[in-house]
């Protein structure tokens, strides 16, 4: 053992050193959710169950930090606004209700004040990160 310790990588630009082409966990989760929501073959109850599974898996220790839950929630809201039946089916799930409620609250916080203030932007980013990390735990 040489004891060499590389300094922790914190700068956003360095994240590319830890990414590989064609491997985007967040995109995979968003796509999976979107496919289920848009499916014309699945029954409503199965759609809700599968969406629960996707959100739940995204919130697992393995993937929580990679998934953008606000985008996920925004997708759900968009599908629900276009599909009344889906919206009703979704409301029978406590899990999905909790999820949608928590993300709506988060969005409200983020949208309350958009100023061209770098410091405030940084604060928002860091708040978002904290929310992503702590969601549902």
């Amino acid at each position: 053992m040489n004891g060499e310790r590389l300094s922790p990588v914190s700068a956003e630009q360095d994240i590319s050193l830890f990414e590989i082409e064609g491997f985007d966990i967040n995109a995979a989760f968003q796509m999976a959710l979107s496919e289920v929501a848009a499916s014309e073959e699945l029954e409503l109850t199965e759609k809700v169950q599968r969406m629960e599974m996707i959100v739940n898996e995204g919130n697992s220790d393995s993937y929580r930090n990679f998934v953008d839950f606000q985008t996920m929630a925004a997708q759900i809201e968009m599908f629900c606004s276009h599909d009344h039946m889906l919206n009703e089916a979704m409301q029978t799930s406590d899990f999905m209700n909790d999820f949608r409620g928590s993300q709506k609250h988060g969005e409200g916080d983020d949208h309350h004040d958009h100023k061209d203030d770098d410091n405030e932007d940084d604060d928002l980013k860091s708040t978002k990160k904290k929310k992503k990390r702590n969601w549902f735990t």
Partner: protein
């Protein structure tokens, strides 16, 4: 049979049945039990370096994840090859399945040391916070399948039941082309093992377990790491009961997988068992 069904009871039954078969045919039992001890010794000798390599670089985005090897530290490639043999790691699923995005557990093969290359047996199922019993057995068997002594002719007095050969015989029982090759004196296991993206483990597993236990062997080059096309990851959940990084040393795993393979063959193609009997008779 899925990995969730790999229970200790099932394992004991499968091994007992297979041993009974081998004893009736050859008066010998399953081979390969030594491999777990050997992997345990190998990994113990590297324990300090391995843990250091596995946990030195935290993932900048994800808590409890580490990136032992990536574009960030590609100069560690040779060290990874020499140090991590027998250790469990994670790889991006896109390395073995395009357009997927999950972490797949993998074991670093001891065979990679021979060619100074990073050879991995990947279990193509998403990692979920810890390595469960079934996955641990499968990965251990894969790691143990390429430790020293496995596949050596004459290691046993009757090498027709030597671990790698018996595994290949199981494949022969389910695949006529493997059977023909074997009867013609071509022990295809040596060919499988010598290829960068193949192995006895993956070939036998594909034939006997199929999608139930999807496995693939890959070789990652230094160039791939440098170009940001591959990387290794590790997660805090991948520690054993003693808190050490998990290794492919599950006792008897190689024997277990041969037993489960025999059971799978018996169920999916019973005449394959008769084929094996014939091969054993011819080669005695």
């Amino acid at each position: 049979m899925g990995m969730s069904e790999i229970t200790q009871t099932r394992v004991e039954d499968a091994v007992a049945t297979t041993n009974h078969f081998l004893e009736s045919q050859r008066g010998a039992s399953l081979d390969g039990d030594f491999a777990s001890t050997q992997i345990a010794e190998l990994t113990r000798s590297m324990a300090e370096q391995a843990e250091d390599l596995l946990t030195t670089v935290p993932h900048p985005q994800a808590r409890d994840f580490y990136v032992p090897l990536s574009k960030h530290n590609s100069q560690k490639y040779a060290e990874a090859v020499a140090t991590l043999a027998g250790y469990l790691v994670l790889v991006p699923s896109s390395l073995v399945e395009p357009n997927t995005a999950a972490f797949y557990p993998a074991v670093v093969s001891e065979d990679g040391i021979k060619n100074q290359s990073l050879r991995l047996h990947v279990l193509k199922q998403p990692y979920r916070q810890q390595i469960l019993y079934g996955a641990s057995v499968v990965l251990s068997a894969a790691g143990q399948s390429e430790t020293k002594g496995i596949g050596d002719h004459g290691r046993k007095t009757n090498d027709s039941v030597e671990a790698e050969h018996f595994a290949t015989l199981l494949a022969a029982g389910s695949d006529r082309s493997v059977q023909s090759a074997w009867l013609a004196g071509n022990h295809v296991n040596h060919h499988w093992r010598s290829q960068g993206n193949s192995s006895v483990t993956s070939q036998v597993s594909n034939r006997l377990f199929g999608k139930e236990i999807p496995q693939e062997t890959i070789t990652i080059t230094k160039r791939q790491i440098e170009d940001g096309k591959a990387m290794l990851l590790w997660h805090e959940g991948m520690r054993d009961e003693q808190g050490k990084p998990e290794v492919a040393a599950k006792p008897g795993a190689l024997v277990v997988m041969q037993g489960l393979g025999f059971e799978a063959l018996r169920q999916s193609r019973p005449q394959g068992v008769d084929d094996i009997k014939r091969i054993l008779a011819v080669s005695s």
